[in-house]
């Protein structure tokens, strides 16, 4: 009995690859190395954000003797990081809502209705994904200026949305095509209007796709730098990326290193929190976006 019990094991379960790897420590070491390379600069910035300037300059690798959270307060109010943060929230929030609304409508209309020029419209939207934004930069500046929208929230929101809609259409178009038609047909028979079918039936069905592309768009818009740099020259309306770039120049002169590290940490924090909360969705959404 004991013999029988001990023998079948190796036959049924051939040695898993992990067994051979255990002899060779190099792969584990390589994986650990990259984890350290990735996280060390980030941790260093967080730790430095609660150190005094003296500690930052003289002992870059040490922990602070006492954590100094006044760096954070100075960055938030004194260096206006709080205001930049709020500006980013307004602009990105507005642009995200507009992008999702318009993008979903266009994708649905093009995916579910046959009419002349459908393909043409689809490619008109999608082709824009393949043009570098740099090409449009100069004329875009003058378009926004002529409309009187330079350095305003609505101006940034409209431009952000305009540049995020093409990918949203591209992503959701294929998504709406895969949804079953029966529910929509039943709703039509029940007397629903076209708009009601879209808002009440199709949009809820498309939720997983909306979440994925919404996450993708949020990160893309939150991290936008080139467009605000050109279209948003008023320091009072700087978004976070702009404010941080400006801060790294001005604080460098004033040599408030603690405040600068604190500003950097504050800029990283919301992304980190969101990532910890939704990390599976985020990774799935972003990589799905790339493969499509």
């Amino acid at each position: 009995m004991t013999l029988l019990r001990s023998r079948p094991a190796p036959v049924l379960a051939p040695a898993p690859p992990a067994a051979t790897n255990r002899k060779n420590p190099l792969p584990q070491l390589a994986m650990l190395c990259w984890a350290v390379v990735t996280s060390l600069p980030l941790l260093w910035a967080v730790v430095s954000s609660v150190k005094s300037d003296d500690e930052i300059l003289n002992e870059p690798w040490s922990l602070p003797s006492t954590p100094r959270f006044d760096n954070w307060a100075r960055a938030w109010t004194g260096a206006s990081i709080g205001r930049y943060f709020l500006n980013s929230l307004i602009v990105v929030g507005g642009a995200l809502l507009l992008t999702m609304f318009l993008g979903a409508l266009v994708a649905y209309a093009l995916a579910r209705y046959e009419f002349r020029g459908n393909r043409f419209l689809y490619y008109t939207f999608v082709a824009a994904m393949f043009f570098p934004v740099f090409l449009a930069l100069v004329p875009l500046f003058f378009v926004v200026q002529r409309l009187g929208l330079l350095g305003t929230y609505p101006g940034l929101i409209l431009v952000y949305a305009a540049y995020a809609v093409p990918f949203t259409v591209f992503f959701l178009h294929s998504f709406f095509r895969t949804l079953p038609t029966e529910l929509a047909e039943a709703a039509f028979l029940d007397g629903c209007s076209h708009a009601a079918v879209f808002f009440r039936v199709m949009l809820p069905l498309a939720r997983p796709g909306l979440v994925a592309v919404g996450i993708f768009n949020f990160l893309g818009l939150w991290n936008q730098y080139l467009l605000p740099l050109v279209l948003n020259p008023d320091p009072d309306r700087y978004v976070l990326a702009q404010g941080l770039a400006a801060l790294s120049v001005s604080q460098g002169y004033r040599s408030d290193w603690g405040g600068l590290f604190a500003g950097l940490t504050i800029a990283m924090l919301p992304v980190l929190v969101a990532y910890v909360a939704f990390q599976r969705h985020i990774r799935a959404g972003m990589t799905a976006g790339a493969v499509k």
Binding site: M31, A109, V138, F141, A195, Q242
Partner: protein, 294 residues
Amino acid sequence: MRHGRWRFLLGALVPALVLHVVFVLSPYAQAFYLSLTDWTGVAGEAHFVGAGNYARLGGDSLFLDAVRNNAVMLVVVPVATIALGLGLASLLRTRRGSAGYQIVYFFPQLLSLVVIAVLWGFVYNPNTGLLNSGLRAVGLGGLTKSWLADPAFALAAVMAVLIWSSVGFYVVLFRAAIDAIPAELYEAALIDGAGSWTTFRRITVPLVRESVQVAFVYLGIAALDGFAVVQVMTVGPGGPDGATEVIGLSLYRNAFTYGKFGYASAMGVALFFATLTLAVLALRAGRNDRLELA
């Protein structure tokens, strides 16, 4: 019902189309025309100069520096990122703790390039930076440098940042591609006595080819950009002595510092054709021999 259908379609399409035409299509179209003029921003003062701006690009030594730097980045950044990403992804395939590693690797992808550039500006700081003080701490003080001020190292330092920030994304992307490979193939290879290197070369690499192609296009486009990191992190920016100049930075400076809008647009058109060529080449390269897998 037919009436309602058209009304719905118009309502769904027209607002987005107006936005698209005004802020996306018309600027792109105008850029091609502006690149043939000497416009400096004064309304009605654009003179047609034909290919004059393009001819001047060839004699603009800073722009040529930018083209050279972007070309170097175009080779180094995708190759290094894909090599690291694919290597790490295949190491993660069979090992415990891989989920945790992926979470850590992926994080930099979420950060704004500005945050990354400011952070690495500190890391490279010659006196108090993480890198030099780390080297001194382990007795390699002789290797310390002013990374961003030394023309021989500045571009490499910029590229290292770009690679650092994108490897994690491609680990996750390639990991998904590797997971789609049937496990029987790996088991068969194991039974045939193939080592891990042979398995990687003969099974993993050929079967994730399409993902690698996609990665090349994305990383290539990122390498043709590089603007945010260079503009925030390097001295000048674009220095020292043009060592980290990139096309986007030249364009931005010519347009919004010097007001040479026609000339800057010509740079934009050049960048557009570079991007287009890259995408076409990369997508053509793998079209012929696509592997079909049941």
